[in-house]
């Protein structure tokens, strides 16, 4: 479904020179599974997901989504995915209904089908009470629901969620998580990045722990438990990260 091989991404920063955001990251996510990308802030999760959503281009390495290459077949890839991140906001001067409708049309969905699909999504996420409210007047939770609705309106086989529960209160976060689980049950392949281990434990079929742009461990949660002889995912995560030497991965001379 999603195959990421040896993905590398460099940035140039005025102060620190070349920064390695991703350093040979590889992982694979399957249909009907939730794949968790776990890592502290600045680990490279967002960069990886931005590359998958074709918003960024890798420095080297390849990634395919449903068989399409994210660099040379970016347009097809965008048809396959729904992308929600902290940076994909909703329009202030558009109502919930208009926003979802707009993206539905951009995906080329016909009028009747779009309407039916939107009604069902608005029902499922209980969005009808604010369907005519402008983005500027919505609460964080409402906005997040609109974002998810916008991302799945075209029924994509792959949904990418980057820190989707950040800033949500317990109730809304719970709704979100249920919605994600439901999407998986509909056969979607989901990539879910988070730094909250409870969420990952509850949701993810497989996880990869990423730090400093490198994948340190991956497998199912049970596999990781067995391998590192710890029950709690948070402990495993903490041990893994603190056992790594504090390398500064910034090698200006390497290409």
């Amino acid at each position: 479904m999603i195959h990421v091989r040896d993905l590398t991404k460099y940035y140039t920063d005025l102060e620190r020179g070349r920064i390695v955001a991703l350093d040979g990251v590889s992982f694979h996510a399957m249909e009907g599974q939730i794949f968790g990308l776990l890592g502290p802030n600045g680990a490279g999760k967002t960069t990886a997901l931005r590359i998958l959503s074709t918003v960024l281009q890798p420095t080297s390495g390849t990634a395919t989504v449903n068989g399409y290459d994210v660099v040379t077949q970016a347009e097809q890839v965008r048809h396959q995915i729904g992308f929600v991140s902290a940076n994909t906001a909703v329009y202030d001067r558009m109502t919930a209904w208009e926003m979802v409708e707009y993206f539905g049309r951009l995906f080329g969905i016909g009028d009747e089908e779009l309407r039916a699909r939107m009604e069902s999504i608005f029902d499922r996420f209980q969005m009808n009470e604010f369907r005519d409210r402008l983005g500027a007047k919505m609460s964080t939770g409402m906005k997040q629901k609109v974002s998810i609705a916008r991302a799945i309106v075209h029924d994509p086989p792959v949904v990418i969620l980057d820190e989707a529960t950040v800033g949500l209160d317990v109730l809304v976060a719970r709704t979100m998580i249920d919605a994600v689980a439901e999407l998986r049950d509909h056969g979607k392949s989901i990539i879910y990045s988070t730094h909250i281990m409870r969420e990952a434990e509850k949701l993810c079929d497989r996880v990869a722990i990423i730090h400093h742009g490198r994948v340190f461990a991956h497998g199912t949660v049970d596999e990781l438990r067995d391998k590192y002889h710890q029950h709690d995912l948070e402990d495993i995560f903490f041990d893994l990260i603190s056992s790594q030497p504090p390398v500064e991965i910034q090698d200006a001379s390497a290409v």
Binding site: N87, R105, S147
Partner: protein, 754 residues
């Protein structure tokens, strides 16, 4: 590109902008309110000016009151002004100062200057006493002259003399307050109008129209010329207003649609949707254009309407300032010109706005846009500037000049230039749109983070993060530095250059060429290569070519190019005759006659440019521009800089085309050496041919009395050139990372279409 998507994005952006009160206010409400308010306040001021009573003290002999057509009771004749003016009289004889110096005043030479100055002070004091704003002083005998003007005119004509000048009354005013200055201005107007009326009536009475016209052609402008002045005035004001509002109307939506979206975080949402970058840009561009056109149109219309109404209401006052209501034709043509101007401005604004990471930063870009756009609008207002080949190449200025020629009725003579203007405008629009699309494809632009910038960190960054070859921005910088350095060197050398052409020696020529080519062109490029790149060798393409055969190929190609280049030069001299440039070329050629020997001449004319210009233009600059990802764009850009570095127009055009060939050679062969070979062979054989040191005149022209070989040789050169290009085109060449990427994406798109 999918047009339904463009339409969808356009409609959304339009709705979004229309829901934004700030944009609406700036773009629609402000102009609708502004001009009428301006008009109303103008009107109020004019009313006030009319109601405001100007008091004028007339000083002169008793007979002044009898001057025909000047006074009506206690005010000026209503033909002369509609302003409220109260006139008081004071007889000259009542002034003690006048009585004291009467003899001087009535003498034909008039009073001495110091007496006159003192008299003016006296007049001002009397003016204060009488509570007036200005004095209109008629020297003794003047009134009489006015009364007798018609008679005198007839006598003069009979005697075969020219018309007599009218005597001038003097306006004396302290001009301390607005009321005083205004009264003085009013008096000037009244005196002028009265002059004209006197001449008119004299001419009518004595049928001496001809004579009077001859006497004072300036005052005697026909009605038509006044209209022309007014038209030309408005044809300068309207483009200016149009430009300001086209930019303002485009700028705010552009910033909101790009920087604003980045700031609010909705841009990434849109980028991850299936809409292509080009569709997003086009959708946004149409929105920006819509606002730009609407704003400019709204402003012009409201301004035109208000101007027409207000100026017709205060005609009297407006005449003082020589302004009439805007002519309808000027307005109509301005409306037509809005579209190309707006497209151009919108695309530029959009690309710039994409560069900004926040609305605040975006707003800082408005001033530079205006700083570039306004001079281009103002340039055509300079005297002597008219629609010709050179000015039709300047974007925006060309459009304004076309409009002016339409208004002034010279368009039918100048229409071929309008085609050039259209082509230039189209190219600029296309290029700006491409630029905007690229901004949306550039990660570093879309995801620019706020960084703390200090000179130190930036310099360290330049040294630490330099790449093997320069970036496109560094190439651009290098090109600009070369142009600037060359400009100052040419100012420095100019005097000696003229001297050089006039009576220089070969040594002077060598010195001048050395300074301009080595210091002006090569030195910046070499310094940049050493400081800004990791591999000067790769940057300057110093390695051997992939195939050694390409060196003789380059030499042959140069030989094939000569007849064509010569043909081009001759064609140019016909199409673009410039006597000065031709003379300079010839003078320069003569200088080489003073060379001690052929080798020395070739060293200066062929070897030096071949080595040093190539290092700069095909070395550093081309290498840098190749990081834009498009081979031909890099070639074109490097060749534009190559052309601009030359000083004579014909050389520039020649260099532009040769630059294309040289750039292509550099990329296909992967080395600077074939370029240097081409450049050397080209320059050297040009020199040898035109100094007749090679018996090969057939090569460039038909030689009288000998077999007609020129045309066959020309055709053979074209064939040879084509063959060599075919060979070069098949060479595998090393692509930059960006070029690889662009090609991969293009292949994929082509594959999809298939």
């Amino acid at each position: 590109m999918s047009w339904p998507n463009v339409r969808l994005i356009f409609l959304r952006e339009m709705r979004d902008q229309l829901r934004d009160r700030r944009t609406l206010f700036m773009i629609a409400v402000l102009p609708i309110l502004f001009y009428p308010l301006l008009g109303v306040s103008f009107f109020q001021i004019a009313q006030f000016l009319k109601k405001h009573e100007s008091r004028v003290l007339i000083v002169g002999e008793e007979s002044v009151k009898e001057i025909p057509g000047l006074f009506e009771g206690e005010t000026f004749s209503s033909n002369l002004t509609e302003q409220v003016v109260r006139v008081k009289f004071r007889e000259l004889e009542s002034l003690p100062f006048f009585r004291k110096y009467r003899d001087e005043f009535v003498s034909p030479d008039g009073p001495r200057p110091d007496v006159l100055t003192e008299f003016k002070n006296q007049l001002l004091m009397v003016m204060e006493e009488e509570d007036c704003h200005a004095v209109l002083y008629y020297p003794p005998g003047v009134a009489q002259k006015f009364t007798n003007y018609a008679v005198e005119l007839a006598e003069r004509r009979d005697a075969g003399q020219s018309a007599p000048p009218l005597p001038e009354p003097k306006i004396v005013s302290p001009m301390r307050t607005d009321a005083e200055s205004m009264t003085a201005g009013l008096l000037k107007h009244v005196v002028k109008k009265h002059d004209r009326a006197t001449k008119d009536s004299a001419a009518e009475q004595r049928e001496l129209d001809e004579l009077v016209r001859e006497a004072d052609p300036i005052v005697y402008r026909g009605e038509g010329s006044e209209r022309r002045i007014n038209t030309s005035l408005w044809s300068k004001i309207l483009p200016f207003v149009l430009m300001i509002w086209a930019v303002t109307g485009a700028f705010y939506p552009a910033v909101d649609l790009c920087a604003g979206e980045k700031e609010r975080g909705t841009l990434e949402t849109l980028l991850s949707s299936p809409a292509r970058r080009s569709e997003i840009v086009m959708g946004k561009l149409f929105t920006v254009m819509m606002f730009s056109i609407a704003t400019a149109m709204l402003n012009l219309t409201v301004m035109f309407g208000t101007g027409a109404i207000v100026l017709s209401q205060i005609e009297d006052l407006a005449k003082v300032a020589n302004v009439g209501p805007p002519p309808l034709a000027a307005f109509a043509w301005s409306l037509l010109l809005i579209v190309p101007v707006s497209v151009l401005v919108s695309a530029v604004c959009l690309a710039l706005a994409a560069l900004a990471k926040s609305t605040k930063e975006g707003q800082h870009y408005l001033a530079p846009v205006m700083l570039v756009a306004l001079p281009l609008t103002l340039l055509p207002m300079a005297p002597q500037v008219e629609l010709n080949f050179a000015f039709s190449l300047v974007p925006i200025s060309g459009i304004v000049l076309v409009m002016r020629s339409l208004l002034e009725g010279t368009f039918f003579e100048l229409w071929p230039y309008a085609i050039i203007v259209a082509v230039v405008t189209f190219f600029c629009c296309w290029w700006s749109i491409r630029w905007a699309v690229e901004q949306f494809n550039s990660e570093s632009v879309l995801f620019r983070e706020g960084e703390r910038w200090t000179l130190g960190t930036w310099l360290r960054h330049l040294a630490r993060d330099r790449q093997d070859t320069p970036s496109a921005a560094q190439a651009l910088l290098c090109g600009l530095v070369i142009l600037i350095v060359s400009f100052f060197l040419s100012v420095f050398l100019a005097k000696s250059f003229e001297e050089l052409l006039a009576r220089g020696t070969f040594a002077d020529l060598f010195k001048s060429a050395f300074i301009s080519i080595v210091v002006g062109v090569a030195l910046p490029a070499l310094l940049f290569s050493i400081m800004l790149t990791r591999s000067p060798r790769r940057t300057l393409q110093l390695g051997p070519p992939t195939k050694l055969l390409t060196i003789p190929v380059a030499a042959l190609l140069a030989l094939a190019a000569i007849p064509l280049s010569r043909l081009l030069l001759e064609g140019l001299q016909v199409v673009l005759p410039m006597t000065e440039a031709t003379a300079q070329l010839e003078q320069l050629a003569k200088l080489f006659d003073s060379a001690p020997n052929v080798l020395a001449a070739l060293g200066v004319i062929a070897l030096m440019p071949a080595v040093f210009e190539e290092l700069a233009f095909r070395g550093f600059i081309l290498s840098g521009f190749r990081h834009t990802g498009h081979k031909w764009r890099a070639i074109a850009l490097s060749s534009i800089f190559f052309a601009l570095a030359h000083s004579i127009v014909y050389q520039e055009i020649n260099a532009l085309l040769l630059g294309l060939i040289l750039g292509y050679l550099a990329i296909q062969t992967g080395s600077i050496w074939p370029c240097m070979t081409f450049h050397f062979v080209f320059n050297a054989s040009q020199y040898l041919l035109f100094t007749n040191q090679l018996p090969l005149r057939h090569y460039v022209e038909e030689v009288r009395g000998e077999p007609a070989l020129y045309v066959p040789i020309l055709l053979a050169s074209v064939a040879l050139g084509a063959l060599l290009f075919f060979y070069l085109q098949r060479l595998p060449y090393r692509r930059t990372r960006e070029e690889d990427l662009v090609e991969a994406i293009q292949r994929e798109n082509a594959h999809q279409l298939a």
